[in-house]
């Protein structure tokens, strides 16, 4: 599911019209980006309620601070996802541990200290298989999680993900590689008989 290709000139024209108070331009921008922002927030936070709040706050930011968008640094979509990411991180600021890359283990497994143990895990998907992947993503370290969601689910390019997260493309590549390794490990853990027995015991 790649992000639909957007003509940057059309986006910038919409943004300029929106700044002049054009309601239709704002609605067009909202309808273009609402799903991507909401999905990112949902997969990042694991909570539909938090995702709705983050989506609302992201577009309120667009309404009140449109001048913060810098067209030389990327697309409107990537900027909005970056705003959503910051808002979601702020939401969990009191619950997530530090994600300084210097502190990360290099073996592809998140150290327990970097896993958010309180990420809400309400069921949001009908498919059991997809729901299991979503839970596995919610359990990996936040700085790996956002790159994974942006590149693999939202379909962003490495450059767009780098803009969204405020990191360079090389870091996006390495984090994505480690995120996939962590995801594979967690999915394997879920599939193991021991995990099923432990779940039944609970």
């Amino acid at each position: 599911m790649a992000m639909p290709p957007q003509d940057p000139r059309a986006e910038h024209a919409l943004l300029a019209r929106m700044k002049r108070g054009d309601e239709e331009a704002f609605l067009a921008l909202y309808r273009r980006h609402k799903d991507a922002v909401y999905r990112f927030a949902l997969l990042y936070s694991g909570s539909a309620a938090v995702a709705a709040d983050v989506t609302q706050d992201t577009f309120v930011h667009l309404i009140t601070q449109p001048g913060q968008f810098d067209p030389t640094r990327g697309s409107v979509g990537a900027w909005l996802c970056g705003v959503a990411r910051n808002l979601a991180r702020k939401h969990f600021a009191g619950r997530e541990d530090a994600t300084d890359p210097a502190l990360l283990a290099d073996d592809g497994h998140a150290h327990q200290a970097h896993v958010d143990p309180e990420t809400p895990l309400d069921r949001v998907l009908r498919s059991e298989s997809a729901e299991q992947v979503r839970r596995a993503i919610a359990a990996i370290a936040p700085h790996y999680r956002d790159v994974l969601v942006l590149c693999e689910i939202s379909g962003m390019s490495y450059a767009e993900a780098a803009q969204t997260c405020g990191i360079d493309i090389g870091t996006v590549r390495s984090r994505l590689s480690r995120a996939r390794a962590q995801l594979a490990q967690r999915l394997a853990d879920y599939a193991s008989p021991a995990h099923g027995a432990a779940k039944e015991a609970v």
């Binding site: 704002f26 609605l27 989506t55 309404i63 997809a130 689910i153 994505l176 996939r180």
Partner: protein, 165 residues
């Protein structure tokens, strides 16, 4: 897919397949429909021009009054006498007195210029008195009163006169 170094092709294929499941399912997700209306209302509120306060005219009025007061205080209530007295020297004696006529010096200009405190007093006197100051007076109107402003020194000496009519 997006991996940097796919070490284990089987593991990568497994992850890709599971992520594809999630992509398919999450494509059905959308934010609550009510959000659009709420954001549109917010957008309209933001675009509405700020309402003019009820007493919006008070600050500019106060500013104008302050400027007028300060201007009056700096310039002073009295006209600059020296300039007017000097101007009076150039007026011929036969000039017709009027409301905007300059003061006519009755004492040397140097003395008037050095006078520390002067007062202007509106007064009325017989027209015949004008002849004493060298001004032409018609004999048949000599008995009529004439209105004038007198410039007095601090000790009451008449320094200059200005005819009003």
């Amino acid at each position: 897919m997006n991996t940097e170094t796919p070490n284990d092709p089987a593991r990568e294929a497994f992850v890709d397949a599971r992520l594809a499941d999630l992509r398919r399912e999450s494509a059905l997700l959308a934010p609550p429909a009510a959000l659009e209306g709420a954001l549109l209302a917010k957008f309209r509120r933001e675009q509405r021009p700020a309402r003019r306060p009820l007493l919006w005219w008070m600050p500019p009025l106060a500013l104008a009054a302050t400027i007028a007061l300060v201007s009056w205080m700096i310039r002073g209530p009295l006209p600059p006498m020296k300039t007017q007295v000097q101007a009076a020297q150039s007026i011929p004696a036969s000039a017709t007195p009027s409301d905007d006529a300059p003061f006519l010096a009755l004492r040397p200009l140097e003395r008037i210029a050095l006078e520390p405190g002067t007062t202007v007093v509106a007064t009325e006197f017989p027209r015949a008195l004008l002849a004493d100051w060298g001004l032409p007076v018609s004999p048949d109107r000599a008995g009529e009163p004439v209105r004038a402003e007198m410039l007095y020194s601090a000790d009451g000496e008449a320094l200059a006169v200005r005819l009003i009519n």
